[in-house]
Amino acid sequence: MAGFLDNFRWPECECIDWSERRNAVASVVAGILFFTGWWIMIDAAVVYPKPEQLNHAFHTCGVFSTLAFFMINAVSNAQVRGDSYESGCLGRTGARVWLFIGFMLMFGSLIASMWILFGAYVTQNIDVYPGLAVFFQNALIFFSTLIYKFGRTEELWT
């Protein structure tokens, strides 16, 4: 009984070379997640226009998430390792500090969105959809960042 799936293989599809297309697929998936997050927030802002329903300050989480996305993806993994020929304007340590700040902003926005969902919506007796929208916007941007950063391989760039 143990290991009965050991010899199972997915059906082979030889028509497309997935290794060459990995970066393109990762970019497209990241794009879908990122922009879906933003459109969920736009939808909430349009359907709930009053500040009592969706405080306009809650948009800051999404803005900082987006800023963090571009900060994290501005440095390549090669620059962080110190491998690339041109050291950029910050060098290796600067690239690491930049990446660190980027990840801090990203995690901070994610945690803030959870706080907003629970503190400002779930515990008060109001319509919870805007809080969910803030949370999903930041969660989707977070996953989009991870996929864009770690789903692509830099070997295809050489």
């Binding site: 060459e20 970066n23 393109a24 990762a26 970019s27 497209v28 990241a30 794009g31 879908i32 990122f34 922009f35 879906t36 459109w39 736009i42 939808d43 349009v46 359907v47 390549s76 864009y148 692509r152 295809l156 760039w157 050489t158």
Partner: protein, 160 residues
């Protein structure tokens, strides 16, 4: 291989010799022409769906036409990336992947915009459905253009 075949009072010494390469593209030209006609047809169908979503008596609201901006802007990141990485032989580059990212974003936005309009009852859900169908057809047409006409081996900028 195509050969010279002449009638009448012309120089018969070239009769039966192979056609020069620049005149041998008959088959490929026909294929490209057929593809162009098919793509134009599907583009017209897509635009028809979009216009139906706006102009039918039941609907009569023309806000969905703004998705045409998304359609027009969608190929731009691809061309910018192609221009920037023209000299490189690499399979991919950071610029090209960023272009894919933004193109995907523009496509998602073109689908999200009519949904938002329907959510606040600016347009009816039926109109939204027609606009989404038109979007899908038009984006498939644009992708078809890239597949068919992007196959040139050496992409020369003199054609711009």
């Amino acid at each position: 291989m195509q050969y010279v075949f002449l009638y009448g009072a012309v120089d018969k010494r070239v009769q039966g010799t192979p056609l020069p390469l620049c005149l041998q593209r008959d088959e490929e030209g026909k294929r490209l022409l057929e593809a162009l006609v098919a793509l134009s047809f599907s583009g017209a169908i897509g635009l028809t769906f979009l216009m139906l979503g706006c102009a039918l008596e039941d609907y009569g609201v023309y806000w969905p036409l703004f998705v045409l901006i998304f359609h027009a802007v969608s190929p731009i990141p691809h061309f910018i990336a192609k221009r920037v990485t023209y000299d490189s032989d690499a399979a991919s580059s950071a610029c090209r992947e960023l272009a894919y990212f933004f193109t995907t974003g523009i496509v998602v936005s073109a689908f999200g915009f009519p949904v938002i309009l329907a959510r606040v009852a600016v347009i009816k859900w039926g109109a939204c459905g027609l606009v989404l169908a038109g979007n899908a057809v038009i984006f498939l047409t644009i992708q078809g253009f890239f597949l068919v006409f992007g196959r040139e081996d050496d992409f020369g900028w003199d054609r711009w």
